[in-house]
């Protein structure tokens, strides 16, 4: 269906090729995922497939791209568009009409499809996407996930043979992301459409794609089935591409020589194969064992043994005046119904708290209340005892730094140094101390002082935005989805910087959809749904509460989910150890020991290291290590 032969392209403005020597064969009906670190050439590859290169961007075109026998250089963009449908990254720019119905009919009208057939196709794709009830709705009133479905439907209505999507789930929560991919997979199977999707969410791609292509620095480094690609995890890491945690775990157990099952992609696969291996190694796993006791009880008993409970409570945050306090808060936007309904919580100084929940739960509204961008319509929000209602946001900015999801909204200067200094300029504090703080930030964050911010990559711009907030050392930092649109490496860099800020005493509050990031860094999680708080507690306690997860439509991190699933079928000390393991390292040690027939289940001592609740890494130590 799609053949790329020695394909390369150099944009006219650039000296180097953005993509080179790409050879790919994509069969008809395949679902292909393209991934890679930032600036690896993924978007350029999609432009080559939908004809934007060379028809909209000029430059040097090498090799050939043939789609269903049509050479993309010789054919016009319109001819290619009859074959290839594109959903671009910026949905808002793609939408040309205000109504869902008109949006889907737009392309059909342009391509001269007869009216009756056009309407029939529209009804067909509305049904396929599950959005029939939105037919007469205004697109501006839809959620992000719904808009994404409308955009995809409007392209599918054209009956393309190939569908190209550039990061279709970048701004969607995990449940909505899966929903979109489910529909795409089903539709493409029924209509034999070849789908090519660029995605950073490798776990999602592995669940749906038949073929994964990993790019680095403009060329294809790895390609094959998800299993074939994931086996090369160390190479992927080196390229800045993450792999599902379950894959890393099963690989690590194989490397230790204690596990002979397959390298798994999903939690359920991992649980099945690891359980089978445990059974084979003689670890008692009565198939009908009923889980006994809650996780909290298990942790409490472990803490009692280790005697660390008191210290963990202390590390949860300093006692005294709360850094942020919400008391029965109601809030919303002008002319709309209340988004928050009676929200209550307090965050102590020094905590690292993550807010999770589906899109529309009220998380971003809560963040904006914290620095006074929104004032509560009822109730009280206070920052170190000062009510936000009585203090302008520009003054609160000295205490509460806010990192927005889109760094481009914040960046306004022509060099990195000026951008970092801008916060001090805005508050009239430009002096020698400010200059020193800027120099330190440049070094700490690894920035190029003279670079033009707008020419940096998205990840670097986000890092600059974070640095320009951190440079004035606010006591609280609020992050609204700091990792959206970033590749794994960029995400790690940002979060390591945030973690360092936290270690220096800054209170960190974060909204994040990526449960792996939340599990790695946060100590406490507040779950929101429909404008209310439904759970508030230590991260792994909340993530194991299945009722809360279902209510808020969120998933736990892969390692927590795996430990819960495995723990249900275990008993005794091994069960306790598995259930109290939450990270890759912990599960690797516990399962490695169990599969090797290592440490005795009854004598292992749990040491939930202090600081876990505050975001530090937790490690299970055996008796031998403690002596």
């Amino acid at each position: 269906m799609i053949q790329l032969r020695d394909f390369g392209f150099r944009y006219r403005e650039h000296a180097e090729c953005a993509i080179h020597d790409v050879n790919l064969d994509i069969p008809e009906g395949a679902f292909v995922g393209i991934t890679g670190a930032a600036a690896s050439g993924k978007s350029t590859l999609t432009y080559a497939l939908n004809g934007i290169i060379p028809h909209c961007y000029s430059g040097d075109f090498y090799g050939s791209v043939v789609i269903d026998g049509v050479d993309t250089v010789e054919a016009s963009l319109t001819e290619i568009s009859r074959l290839v449908g594109s959903v671009c990254q910026d949905i808002e720019s793609q939408i040309v009409t205000p109504l869902v119905e008109d949006e889907i009919l737009y392309g059909l009208e342009n391509f001269g499809v007869a009216r009756d057939e056009g309407v029939a196709r529209m009804e067909d794709v509305l049904g396929a996407m599950g959005i029939e009830e939105l037919r007469s709705c205004e697109i501006s009133s839809l959620s992000g996930g719904q808009k994404q479905k409308v955009a995809i439907a409007s392209i599918l209505a054209l009956r393309p043979r190939v569908l190209v999507l550039d990061e279709p789930t970048a701004e969607l929560d995990p449940a909505a992301s899966r929903g979109v991919f489910d529909l795409l997979k089903q539709y493409s199977r029924e209509h034999k459409i070849t789908v090519v999707a660029v995605e950073q969410k490798i776990a999602l791609l592995c669940d749906y794609a038949d073929m994964i292509v990993v790019m680095e620095e403009g060329s294809v480094r790895v390609s094959g089935t998800p299993d074939e690609v994931l086996v090369r995890a160390p190479e992927l890491y080196a390229m800045g591409v993450n792999v599902p945690r379950v894959t890393s775990l099963t690989r690590s157990l194989r490397d230790k020589g204690v596990y002979e099952g397959p390298v798994c992609r999903t939690v359920s696969q991992g649980a099945l194969h690891i359980a089978q291996s445990l059974r084979a190694k003689g670890q008692a796993i009565p198939p009908d064992a009923a889980p006994g006791g809650s996780f909290a009880e298990c942790v409490a008993s472990c803490e009692k043994e280790a005697g660390k409970g008191e210290e963990r409570t202390r590390r949860n945050g300093k006692a005294g005046l709360a850094a942020l306090e919400f008391h029965d808060v109601y809030a919303g936007y002008e002319g709309e119904l209340a988004v928050l309904k009676g929200v209550d919580f307090a965050i102590q100084e020094g905590e690292f708290v993550a807010f999770v929940g589906a899109n529309g739960a009220g998380k971003s509204t809560t963040m904006r209340l914290m620095n006074g961008l929104i004032k509560p319509s009822a109730g009280k929000v206070s920052v170190f005892g000062t009510s936000t209602a009585s203090c302008p946001t520009s003054e609160l900015a000295r205490t509460v730094g806010f990192l927005f999801q889109n760094p481009d909204r914040q960046i306004c200067k022509t060099t990195v140094r000026e951008e970092l200094l801008f916060g001090f300029e805005a508050t009239g504090r430009v002096d020698a101390r400010a200059q020193r703080a800027v120099d330190e930030a440049i070094e700490k964050f690894g920035l190029d002082a003279s670079a033009d911010p707008f020419l940096l990559s998205r990840g670097s711009r986000q890092l600059l935005a974070l640095a320009s907030i951190a440079v004035s050392a606010p006591r609280v930092v609020v992050l609204d989805e700091p990792t959206t649109g970033l590749d794994y490496r960029e995400c790690e860099k940002i979060m390591q910087c945030v973690s360092r800020l936290h270690e220096n005493g800054t209170t960190v509050v974060m909204v994040c959809h990526d449960m792996e990031v939340v599990a790695d860094f946060a100590g406490r999680v507040i779950v929101m749904t429909a404008g209310c708080v439904v759970a508030d507690g230590p991260i792994f306690e909340v993530m194991r509460d299945e009722e809360v997860l279902a209510k808020a439509s969120i998933e736990p991190s892969q390692m927590t989910a795996l430990s819960m699933l495995l723990g249900k079928g275990l008993s005794g000390g091994l069960r306790e150890r598995v259930l109290s393991s939450n990270t890759l390292e912990e599960l690797s040690i516990v399962l490695g020991d169990a599969l090797a027939g290592g440490a005795s289940a009854s004598s292992a001592v749990h040491d939930l290291l202090p600081g876990r609740a505050a975001g530090g890494k937790c490690r299970v130590r055996t008796e031998g290590e403690l002596r």
Partner: protein
């Protein structure tokens, strides 16, 4: 700024009128307002415009925009008061005086701008941009790219305003005092923010152009749209009424 110049759904006569007829009527009314300086005439047109807005449920939106036009026209009015010497002298100035003629000229300016603007705003509130573009292409044979340019401009205004609001929000959160100080200081603070707005605007427009191209934009012509926009009797009558209004404005100008 949400909803600025955005279509508001409804079922009034104005909503159901032909988009081209509405545009022609608003332009004719606008021209009529600039063809005469007769204050009673202009007030009558202004009142008529507001009554039309009330009849289709757009009173709140039109009043809101009228306030903005009024503030703008006030600046021109002040210039006229200070520079038009004539009539009974009210306040002496080094270069002349503020007279009744100046006051009348100021009132006329304000009334003219409001009377001319209200029908145009109303048209944008009661007409979907896509309907307007499609009707212009089908009925007037306007090349689609010009109609698309016009509707995209209108479509992007709220998007750019939202972007600007988000940028101001982000800068306020950094300590820039948009939420304190007077209008002069806020305008001064806004100037450097044109850079991020320009960058995001260019990116948005580039994406929009490419997205339209790959959906067959270049193929679209007068036959393409599924919807038809026939002219009905009320459309003809409305246009005739506005032509009469224009004639009346010219006549009033000659006679008075």
């Amino acid at each position: 700024m949400k909803g600025f110049l955005e279509y508001v759904d409804g079922t009034s006569v104005l909503h159901r009128m032909n988009p081209v007829a509405k545009l022609v009527c608003s332009f004719l009314t606008c021209i009529a307002c600039f063809c005469t300086s007769n204050l009673p005439f202009l007030f009558a047109v202004l009142v008529g415009g507001f009554l039309l807005a009330v009849s289709c449920g757009m009173a709140r939106q039109v009043v809101g925009l009228a306030k903005a036009v009024f503030m703008f026209s006030l600046i021109l009015a002040i210039v006229q008061i200070l520079t038009t010497s004539g009539g009974a002298s009210l306040v002496m100035l080094p270069w002349g005086h503020i007279g009744t003629a100046g006051l009348v000229a100021a009132f006329t300016t304000v009334a003219r701008l409001l009377a001319a603007a209200v029908p145009l705003f109303l048209t944008l509130y009661v007409t979907r941009m896509t309907d307007l573009a499609n009707a212009l292409v089908k009925n007037v044979r306007l090349p689609y790219k010009y109609a698309f340019t016009f509707t995209s401009t209108i479509r992007f205004i709220p998007a750019f305003l939202n972007d600007m609001a988000a940028i101001i929000e982000a800068q306020t959160a950094r300590g820039v005092q948009f939420d304190q100080g007077g209008i002069v200081s806020r305008v001064r603070l806004t100037v450097p923010l044109c850079v991020p707005l320009l960058v995001s605007s260019v990116r948005k427009v580039n994406s929009a152009a490419i997205a339209a191209e790959v959906r067959g934009f270049s193929l679209r012509n007068a036959k393409s749209g599924y919807r038809e926009y026939p002219m009905a009797l009320c459309d003809g009558m409305a246009v005739a009424a506005c032509v009469f209004l224009l004639a009346a404005a010219l006549a009033v100008n000659v006679l008075f």
